[in-house]
Amino acid sequence: MGKKVLMKGNEAIGEAAIRAGCLNYFAYPITPQSEVAEYLSRRMPEVGGVFVQGESEVAVSYMLFGAAGCGERVFTTSSSPGISLMSEGISYVAGAQCPVVFVNIIRGGPGLGGILPSQGDYFQATKGGGHGDYRMLVMAPASVQEAVEMVMMAFPLAEKYRNPIMLLGDGLIGQMMEPVEFPDHLRTEPTNKDAWATNGMDTRKSSKPNIVKSLYLDPKQLNDHNLLLKSKYEQMKREEIRYEPYNTDSDYKVLIVSYGTMSRVCRTAIDNMKAEGFEVGMVRPQTLFPFPEKAVHDAAVKESCKVVISIEMSMGQMVEDVDRCVKGKRPVEWYGKCGGDVPTPEEVMGVVKALI
């Protein structure tokens, strides 16, 4: 561990990628994450890395695809409308099984929406976005430090699964400054990709060409390919679920499920209510796909718990997953706001108390 430095989320994300051993960054500017590109346009030359400002998010997603396809670590950062444009490329990257790390610092939508914090891209990130049957491993940090750690973990995970990984932050995570340190143990070496990457036959001393592709015209082959992808997503569900319980040792009457910036507001609300003698628990998913299904279910069915509420900066997206996990055993409510006016702890307290 180095010493703690005060850094803006966006800059810390850029630095974290470098510290993780990723020296290739392709991006297109968009508020509220352009500081990543600004930071890396200075920083990449210092470390002998690659910085390319593409002509559009569409092009950027294919620059990533090409670079990842020849075996190099790559990543990008963008925000909601940009991720929509990249979604075409993400589908191809998933289909061709390339490891790429995408960071989405979400802003309000739909359309141009706004530039303030939002969690409106939950569905896009966890259920698709692009076409076809694919999933991304989606991680949601709640602090700048956690964003750093998740970025650093993302690269080996992307390589483990040969799959795109998305970090889902929001405008606040990107814009806020907090103390961070870059854990040395999360620096990893890129894995050997000779078995599949188009890194040149001379590089791997082979006479067999590697083909990076997503086209399978034969119905059986395509089905088999999709079954292979599915098996990776099932493995993620077994091995990669991450979540943080909060105040769940108490006899809480209400269980909150919340992630990212919103979960921090809920944490303060829970502390305040505890001081008043009103116990509320929380499960904070750190991975949104795979979703902590069992953790949410088990916390919901605790005897003291009367009701579950999903609190999110969207109009009710994660609540569908929460509802799915609770399986009708408790009522599942939703509270949220869009537009960038992040709910305050007081608002959350009002909403939660009104449930009982």
């Binding site: 703690k4 005060l6 508020t31 509220p32 530039i115 303030l116 405008g171 606040l172 814009q175 806020m176 400054m177 907090e178 103390p179 910036t261 921090r264 507001v265 944490r267 303060t268 609300a269 502390d271 992040v342 709910p343 305050t344 702890p345 007081e346």
Partner: protein, 178 residues
């Protein structure tokens, strides 16, 4: 114990930098800190503000509707935010650019012509540092010596400016003690 300071003013007044220096100073003392900016089109010449949270335990909500203190570098900022400050908090008013007061009797009002002082020192750009010196002295939110170190570090790349910024801090401190 957690306290929050909101810095507000025109874009270009060094609002975000003031917050950053304060957060940095608190960090060196081992506090948990968060610096939360306003961002977006209003950055370009309009109102800019940021909030610094300083706490002795992990910071929960970064959304602060009612900060403990306010540093208002111009009149629109005072008018916009004076009423949200918690009772007993400090409101610093830059009287060079704001002829009115907060109208509140439950807070500690500190009126300093920070822009005029900075101009006397040779550059209006130092107004934010004058304000920091005054605010930290009055609120005692962190040790004044820590603040000095943080300012020096902020200007480490522009070493020539450090004597001026030290003078700015001192003038702010003096104004707060009067």
């Amino acid at each position: 114990m957690q306290s929050e300071v909101m810095f507000a003013g025109f874009g270009g007044q060094g609002i975000l930098m003031s917050g950053k220096i304060l957060a940095h100073a608190a960090l060196t003392k081992g506090f948990e800190v968060a610096w939360i900016p306003s961002y977006g089109p209003e950055m370009r010449g309009g109102t800019a503000y940021c909030t610094v949270v300083i706490s002795d335990r992990p910071i929960g909500s970064p959304i602060i509707k009612n900060p403990m203190h306010l540093v208002a570098m111009n009149r629109p900022s005072l008018e916009k935010f004076a009423h949200v400050v918690k009772p007993e908090g400090v409101i610093l008013i830059n009287s060079s650019l704001c002829s009115v007061t907060s109208g509140r009797s439950d807070i500690d009002e500190l009126i300093v012509p920070v822009s005029d002082i900075a101009i006397e020192l040779g550059t209006v750009k130092a107004a934010n540092i004058v304000a920091l010196g005054a605010f930290v002295t009055r609120s005692k939110i962190i040790d004044y010596e820590l603040l000095k170190e943080a300012v020096k570090e902020e200007f480490a790349a522009k070493e020539k400016l450090i004597p001026l910024e030290m003078e700015a801090l001192e003038r702010g401190k003096k104004a707060a003690l009067q």
